[in-house]
């Protein structure tokens, strides 16, 4: 396999032009994805005046962390709200993730292992939700939440995010369980484990990468969600970050450096999560894809 691959690589190298054009293409793509982030960071270091200058300053003449201090200073108005939004986001995303995993793990396991009446239909029904654009459900869900008295609560968001997150989590985890040979559980049960022990001691540890990948997906999904949070929440103390940071747009002017600092802060948890867990994440995606 390795031999074949390197032979193939050598062949490609022979056609040298392709190799370079490929790299240039990748560089362009990278620039396209990374540039906005770099610009976001640079802008966040500028003063309000510097941010609006034309031609733009590629690097601020007087870089300042003032925008960040403002965000994390609990004594100021901006800081107090920002910290509140941040915790709201953490709380909603974390609870969504935990609930998604707690429900998806047994559901995915059941879909993978058991044959029960309506199994295929139910699995299809679970996925059906994700075949519609999220916004389709905005009004119906709002009416539902209102009826349930959940408008302006985090409960409305968590329930809504679960409707996106769960199907994906179940589907992803089912792929994982499908790839774990059933004989492992059978061996464990013969070796003296109950069904639950076989699951918790043998199958669960093997599906850790899947559970982590699922968690990241549902966390990011909840963390970045805007339209539902915007619709369901009107009270400032309830708002999550994507909605909350809108306050940087005011009627008269937009505080670009402040906004950029806030967005930068907002992307930190996701990036950290991703960096710490990326090896599981990659494994999850590849293992789910390849049958052994």
């Amino acid at each position: 396999m390795t031999m074949e691959l390197s032979a193939g690589a050598a062949k490609r190298r022979g056609a040298g032009g392709w190799r370079w054009s490929g790299r240039i293409f990748l560089l362009l793509l990278l620039g396209f994805t990374v540039m906005p982030m770099i610009w976001m960071f640079i802008t966040s270091l500028k003063t309000g005046f510097a941010a609006m200058q034309y031609p733009p300053q590629w690097w601020p003449a007087e870089p300042t962390l003032e925008n960040y201090w403002r965000l994390i200073d609990p004594s100021g108005n901006v800081g107090r709200d920002f910290i509140q939004y941040f915790w709201n986001s953490i709380w909603v995303s974390t609870l969504t993730t935990i609930l998604a995993v707690v429900v998806a793990v047994p559901a995915a396991y059941a879909f993978s292992r058991f044959r029960f009446p309506g199994r295929n239909f139910l699995f299809f029904a679970v996925l059906l939700r994700n075949m519609f654009p999220a916004v389709v459900f905005l009004v119906p869900l709002f009416i539902l939440m209102k009826a349930l008295g959940l408008v302006n609560t985090h409960g409305s968001l968590i329930l809504t995010y679960l409707t996106f997150g769960l199907p994906l989590a179940i589907w992803l985890l089912k792929g994982f369980y499908d790839n774990i040979p059933v004989q492992l559980e059978q061996a464990a049960r013969i070796d003296g484990a109950t069904r639950f022990q076989a699951f918790f001691l043998i199958v669960m540890p093997l599906s850790t990468p899947g559970i982590i990948a699922t968690s990241i997906y549902s966390f990011i999904g909840a963390w970045n969600e805007y339209i539902y949070a915007y619709t369901f929440l009107t009270r400032h103390d309830q708002m999550t970050l994507p909605v909350g940071i809108q306050r940087f747009f005011s009627e008269n002017a937009t505080d670009w450096p402040g906004l950029m600092a806030a967005t930068f802060m907002m992307s930190i948890p996701v990036v950290v999560l991703f960096l710490v867990l990326q090896r599981y994440f990659v494994r999850a995606l590849t293992e789910g894809a390849v049958k052994h």
Partner: protein, 365 residues
């Protein structure tokens, strides 16, 4: 070790019977092979004994206990799987220790037993490795070791050798046999390879279509197959079966072919042939009981050589006789050419006759 008794065991999925009223007794210390083509119900039967799938009917006893409704963990059995089913995240040591930990043995006892099992199977040097770092043969040993540490009442083995290459398979075959002898273990061994069953087992249970066809020692199954399925399944090359018609002629019984030749039968065989439900009788013969002649001799039947396969010690050939393929063997010095006409003489004392309607072996009343 203990006796295992299956009584009227049934497993059906709706109208499909994977295991159809199977009864058999595995004596204490016996090595029984469940053998048959794929889909015959042998693995399902083993899983029923293990308790991995619920039974539709019947009872299973292991030792003095009725285990029919017990969980696998309470049946006190060990199982070796075709894909070994080693726990990938655990080291070899922890794989071996797992069944003991589940039974809450003290740590020192676990260590003692793991070391002993590792020593028996010559895997002491592998104890710290993970299963994926082992070769197929080593994984196989670890799987055996995990079964062995617990001193269970019975060992269940599901095609444990079929993932190994040919050479290793032969080696592990004798090791498992040795393992059985040393431990005086009760073993139920599933295989689709009749040669494995014949060479390793004390008794073989031949299954087909969910039914137990025959349960006897390999020698008896080989010598006295109860029906055409068993006859053609056991033995390599397979027993050849030629459908013919029985008729009485001048006080003698003969087998007639549609082409018009006749083969006189001995008195005993004649009586067997006449006991068939109709005149349809199937002649069966193993290659070792058929003599090949280049010219007609009394009692021999005509055929045409189809293929010739020299193996060195012996040359196998397939001969068309009345539309059926008959496997024969000749000395390597005996020259045969494809399409050559030959005459086959069946040994009257060792030939088999089957009822053409029921496919059952014809026996003297």
């Amino acid at each position: 070790m203990a006796q295992v008794i299956l009584k009227d065991v049934v497993k059906n999925y709706g109208d499909v019977y994977a295991v159809n009223h199977v009864s058999l007794t595995v004596e204490d210390g016996e090595f029984v092979a469940l053998v048959g083509p794929s889909g015959c119900g042998k693995t399902t039967t083993l899983n029923l004994v293990a308790g991995l799938i619920p039974m539709s009917g019947g009872t299973i006893n292991i030792g003095d206990r009725d285990v029919t409704d017990l969980d696998p963990k309470d049946r006190d059995i060990a199982m070796v799987f075709q894909n070994y089913a080693l726990y990938p995240q655990k080291s070899v040591y922890k794989n071996l220790a797992f069944p003991l930990q589940m039974r809450k043995l003290p740590k020192e006892e676990i260590d003692k037993r793991v070391q002993a099992a590792a020593k028996t199977l010559d895997i002491v040097h592998l104890l710290e490795r993970k299963p994926r770092e082992l070769s197929g043969g080593q994984q196989q040993r670890v799987a055996l070791g995990r079964a062995l540490v617990r001193e269970p009442r019975a060992f269940l083995m599901d095609e444990p050798l079929s993932n190994l290459d040919a050479k290793l398979r032969v080696q592990m075959r004798s090791e498992i046999k040795r393992f059985h002898q040393d431990l005086n273990a009760t073993i139920i061994y599933v295989t689709h390879d009749q040669l494995e069953a014949v060479t390793m087992s004390d008794k073989m249970a031949v299954m087909n279509g969910g039914f137990l066809q025959q349960y006897d020692s390999p020698a008896n199954v080989f010598a006295n197959p109860v029906n055409m399925f068993v006859a053609s399944f056991v033995g390599s090359p397979a027993m050849s079966l030629v459908p013919l018609t029985a008729a009485s002629k001048d006080g003698k019984v003969v087998l007639q072919s549609p082409e018009g030749w006749e083969m006189p039968l001995s008195d005993a065989n004649g009586r067997k042939a006449l006991s068939a439900k109709s005149s349809k009788v199937v002649l069966g013969g193993r290659h070792s009981t058929i003599t090949v002649h280049k010219s007609q001799v009394p009692g021999a039947v005509p055929g045409k050589v189809y293929t010739v396969e020299p193996t060195g010690d012996v040359t196998f050939a397939q001969v068309f006789v009345s539309g059926a393929v008959v496997n024969v063997s000749v000395a390597p010095t005996f020259q045969l050419r494809p399409d050559e006409p030959v005459f086959l003489e069946f040994d009257q004392d060792r030939m088999h006759l089957f009822d053409g309607e029921t496919e059952m072996a014809l026996k003297l009343a």
